[in-house]
């Protein structure tokens, strides 16, 4: 198929799949239903019906939802050319990085091998960590990173190892991994022609803007890192939170001052936010809006496909939060907060330790 045919196919696929995305009121409607009904509707009955403990069932549900997302990802990349495919696969590799972090935490805290294995996601071949079995058998973090350095993840592993050798801190290690992952996405985007760029810039820019604000606030005011250290851990966006702006923002001394100094539309969007959770909720809504716009008005298939995957991931993870809340018998208010703040649960520095 020629380029135009590929694009037409991809656009049709994305438009078809986009009908599966949640409408604004979907989650509210789903929240009124029982876990069994949700399971039946989203083909999760097998995961929920097993005789396993709640934690294992919750894990099975999460795995099943991730399988759904990654199956759709594989369908979408079929008609794509190499650079487009690389970008989408690299985006999907944050699950492999979640596995890498699980392995690292497991080795650092000398966890039981079964516990580590239970917390690894099952991923398709083209999204798995290379030599995952061999990494699993590594005796310590350094050995693990050295093994990973020999393969396609060398870009991430080398930086992580250097940081780990100099700073034996899990935080610095995971931050280095996340930073390299995002830098890789920006690098992938640089390969696209100007024709693709406006939509992709908008989407990846929104993704990076959201993370830059969250990380800046978290590192600077929750972890009390210095402005230098905070800036070094951030990944400048090509849109609003660019390098110069981040340099100015990290030097501010209070949460409110940073929010006040943010460029539009974040000034209005985050006005009157007092805590990180509220900021995260509003930024999720912002990213959702940007991705929906790209789906509706985007001209290039790859940008629309990525926008769809980002939204689909948000939806599935919100659904997971809902089912998990039901399994744990949490109060409705707590589930509501979890849904609003859930994006990709395993995404970039937001996942709970294994």
């Amino acid at each position: 198929m020629k380029f135009a045919a590929h694009q037409a196919y991809l656009h049709t696929r994305v438009s078809g799949m986009a009908t599966r995305l949640f409408r604004p009121d979907t989650l509210a409607l789903l929240a009124e239903r029982r876990a069994e009904e949700l399971a039946a509707e989203y083909d999760l009955t097998a995961a929920l019906e097993s005789q396993l403990p709640v934690k294992a069932r919750s894990r099975a549900v999460e795995q099943a939802l991730i399988n759904t997302l990654l199956a759709e990802l594989r369908i979408l990349i079929r008609p794509m050319a190499a650079p487009e495919r690389t970008l989408i696969l690299d985006w999907g590799r944050h699950y492999a990085l979640a596995n890498l972090k699980t392995l690292i935490r497991g080795k650092l805290h000398d966890l039981d091998r079964k516990v580590i294995a239970d917390n690894l996601y099952e991923l398709p071949h083209n999204l798995r960590l290379p030599m995952q079995d061999s990494l699993f058998q590594a005796e310590n973090v350094l050995e693990l990173l050295r093994q990973l350095e020999g393969g396609p993840y060398s870009f991430i592993a080398r930086q992580a190892r250097v940081v780990f050798e100099r700073k034996q801190e899990p935080f610095a290690l995971e931050a280095a991994i996340d930073q390299r992952y995002l830098t890789g996405l920006v690098r992938d985007m640089a390969l696209f022609s100007d024709r693709h760029c406006p939509c992709l810039r908008r989407l990846i820019g929104a993704l990076l803007d959201r993370l830059a604000i969250l990380w800046l606030l978290r590192f600077r005011f929750s972890y009390q890192l210095s402005s230098s250290e905070t800036f070094f851990q951030l990944v400048p966006s090509m849109r609003r939170l660019h390098r110069e702006r981040l340099l100015a923002l990290v030097n501010l001394d209070s949460f409110a001052a940073v929010l006040a100094a943010l460029p539009p539309p974040f000034t209005g969007l985050l006005a009157a936010s007092h805590d990180l959770m509220d900021v995260q909720r509003r930024l999720n809504a912002f990213l959702r809006g940007e991705a929906l716009d790209v789906i509706h008005v985007g001209q290039t298939g790859v940008a629309r496909a990525l926008a769809y995957l980002i939204l689909r991931e948000q939806d599935l993870m919100a659904l997971f939060s809902l089912i998990q809340g039901r399994l744990l018998e949490l109060p409705a208010e707590v589930i509501k907060v979890a849904i609003e703040t859930s994006s990709a649960r395993c995404h970039l520095g937001e996942r709970q330790a294994a």
Partner: protein, 635 residues
């Protein structure tokens, strides 16, 4: 030879304790192919060998890492089989774990020396760079009262971000050189409270200090010699460390080899892991065994297992046929042809193994298309000469060469000369029409045989509808033979014939009726689809038969090419004549030989296999003992 080796499905129930012994026995006999499906019996949900498997995997991983530092002699081919209990496996794993701890320290020491060596090389680069600057480098060497200096290396990818970060701590970053993935930088800024903050950022960025020696500002030659001496020192250190490692490991090699043997003997149970399920103390494993080997398996289990067991066997059920493994031919002469068949696919259990037919028809067509005593001898000779490199595949070259020689005698051709030997039959160019007619006849025979095999393969698995009405089934065959009959009549100058016409119309009618019944579409669409399919059947069989004309065409082409080379040679002087003949023959062997082989494979795969060979079977891969590399290479 064409029929598959009959297989039985066996189910073995053993007591947990006897699992390692049972798996070892199965591996020794090398006749058990594990069946990974969940058991049909209720209750077998446990996985009794999971702990054993995990220990084995960890131990194997450790052994592999250790042997990167301590090479071991080749494995014994046939170690005496003995059961490895979990306790022994655990002890081996623990011993390997403690050994790996020491080994990893050696590994780190090697890495430290490599890092040191790399740093010295960077210093040598920096020295060349600093020499031309003409500044007092002593100023950069240490902190002053007012200024801090940091000279060192940082991953190039971090420079831009680090520049911004140090700027926030009121420092400036200068990049003065890039080597590989690293950038050489100088960071300078006011001394004071920002120091600790900066150190933390530098560690996050992977910054490595690059000391500036005192000699650098006034005696670069001395410094250069010093750096060279330090590199020699690093090399000596590396050699000394290697020697220390050799001395330390000398006494361990025997025990390491024993550990390797323990792991190899324990491996069968690990390989069976996915096929083992348990309930209470009972373990169940299932698999496929050649029917002729079942009684031997039972007898051997009776000898080796100390606790009661139950072995039951049954024929494969019809729905299980796609899962039953197929044993490929063991015939040495057919082995290279089996490799080519496997490029297309593995015969499904019950299907005719096409290897012997493929070998015979391949040799026949290759010889016909490339018949020459001299060139055939060269092909056979080269295949023989390079037999070590070609492995089992050399026989393919030898047989193809002999086929070419045989047809060379029939055609009376030696390196293209047709007067050196009397033709046992005739040179192809003497009667091209006869050659083309024979090729067409061969095509009809080939396609007929393919249809018969397709029908048989479907009948064997109980697919009656497919056998009669499916593609290349019995009705198709009747149509094709009637078409060939009519075509033959036409070639004899007669009419197509009522008999063939009736059969063609009837068979096409049956096919159309069958196709109509299987379509779920509006009437208009049905008419269109059935019409196109019927047309495709007619055109397909005619074009496929004509495809075999290439067999004659290439034999004629071979003779014509030889003729062209002789004509060119005649135009040369004595030296040019000889050279043209030699180069012409080389050209024919390499290029024409290659093209003929591709054409024959195309006929075999497309006109033959595509009709009767599903190729979606599984190779019989029994559990067996032996070094890993040998297990992988076995069929």
């Amino acid at each position: 030879m064409l029929r598959p080796t009959p297989m039985k499905h066996v189910r073995l129930l053993v007591i947990d304790e006897d699992l390692p012994r049972a798996s070892l026995t199965l591996a020794e006999l090398a006749s058990f192919h594990a069946d990974d499906r969940p058991p049909e019996e209720e209750g077998f949900a446990g996985q009794p060998s999971v702990a054993y498997r995990d220990i084995w995997r960890q131990a194997s991983s450790r052994l592999e890492k250790i042997t990167r530092l301590i090479p071991l002699p080749p494995e014994e081919r046939n170690p005496s089989p003995r059961v490895i209990p979990e306790e022994e496996l655990t002890a081996t794993n623990n011993w390997l774990g403690s050994l790996w701890e020491t080994c990893s320290r050696y590994e780190e020491e090697f890495r430290a020396i490599d890092d040191e060596d790399r740093l010295i090389r960077e210093q040598q680069s920096a020295l060349s760079n600093f020499e031309g600057l003409g500044i007092d480098l002593g100023m950069l060497r240490s902190k002053t009262r007012f200024l801090d200096f940091y000279v060192g290396l940082v991953p190039y990818a971090n420079v831009r971000q680090l520049e911004g970060a140090v700027g926030l701590a009121d420092h400036l970053l200068f990049q003065y050189m890039v080597t590989g993935d690293d950038a050489h930088v100088v960071i300078v800024g006011p001394s004071g409270a920002q120091g600790a903050q900066l150190e933390s950022v530098l560690r996050s960025a992977g910054f490595r200090h690059l000391p500036i020696p005192p000699e650098l500002d006034h005696e670069p030659q001395v410094m250069r010699a010093e750096l060279a001496r330090r590199r020699e020192g690093a090399a000596a250190q590396r050699e000394a460390l290697r020697q220390r490692l050799r001395d330390w490991s000398a006494d361990l090699i025997g025990q390491l080899a024993s550990s390797r043997e323990v792991l190899r003997l324990a491996e069968p149970l690990v390989q069976l892991d996915s096929a083992i399920r348990g309930v209470g103390p009972l373990a169940r494993l299932a698999g496929w065994v050649p029917a002729a080997a079942v009684s031997a398996l039972e007898a051997r289990l009776r000898q080796t297992l100390s606790l009661p067991f139950d072995l039951s066997s049954r024929d494969p059920r019809p729905e299980e046929r796609p899962l039953v493994p197929t044993i490929s031919t063991r015939n040495r002469l057919l082995a290279p042809f089996a490799l080519l068949v496997q490029q297309y696919g593995i015969p499904r259990y019950g299907e005719i193994d096409p290897t012997p037919l493929f070998a015979a028809s391949f040799l026949l067509m290759f010889g016909t298309m490339f018949g020459d005593v001299g060139q055939g001898a060269v092909i056979a000779g080269l295949a023989w000469y390079f037999r070590a490199r070609l492995g089992r595949f050399y026989l393919f070259g030898v047989l193809a060469g002999f086929s070419s020689i045989t047809f060379g005698f029939l055609f009376g051709s030696v390196f293209g000369f047709e007067h050196w030997l009397p033709a046992l039959w005739m040179p192809p160019l003497h009667d091209p029409l006869l050659m083309l007619s024979l090729a067409l006849g061969w095509g009809v025979f080939f396609i007929t045989m393919a249809c018969i095999l397709a029908t048989y393969n479907r009948l064997v698995i109980g697919n009656w509808a497919g056998a009669f009405f499916g593609q290349h089934g019995l009705v198709n065959l009747i149509f094709y033979l009637a078409l060939a009959w009519g075509g033959f009549n036409l070639s004899q100058g007669e009419a197509f014939g009522q008999g063939p016409l009736l059969l063609v119309v009837l068979s096409l009618g049956v096919l159309a009726w069958h196709g109509w019944g299987h379509l779920e579409a509006p009437v208009g669409e049905k008419v269109l689809v059935v019409f196109i399919e019927t047309l495709e059947t007619i055109v397909g069989y005619i074009s496929n038969t004509l495809s075999f004309l290439r067999v004659a065409a290439f034999s004629l082409n071979h003779a014509a090419l030889a003729l062209a080379i002789f004509t060119l040679a005649e135009m040369m002087g004595p030296l040019g004549h000889g050279l043209t003949l030699i180069l012409g023959n080389v050209f024919m062997i390499v290029l024409e030989g290659g093209i003929v082989m591709i054409q024959v494979l195309r006929l075999e795969f497309y006109e033959g296999f595509a009709r009767y060979f599903a190729g979606d079977g599984h190779a019989f891969n029994p559990l067996r003992l032996g070094p890993a590399h040998e297990r992988e290479s076995l069929p």
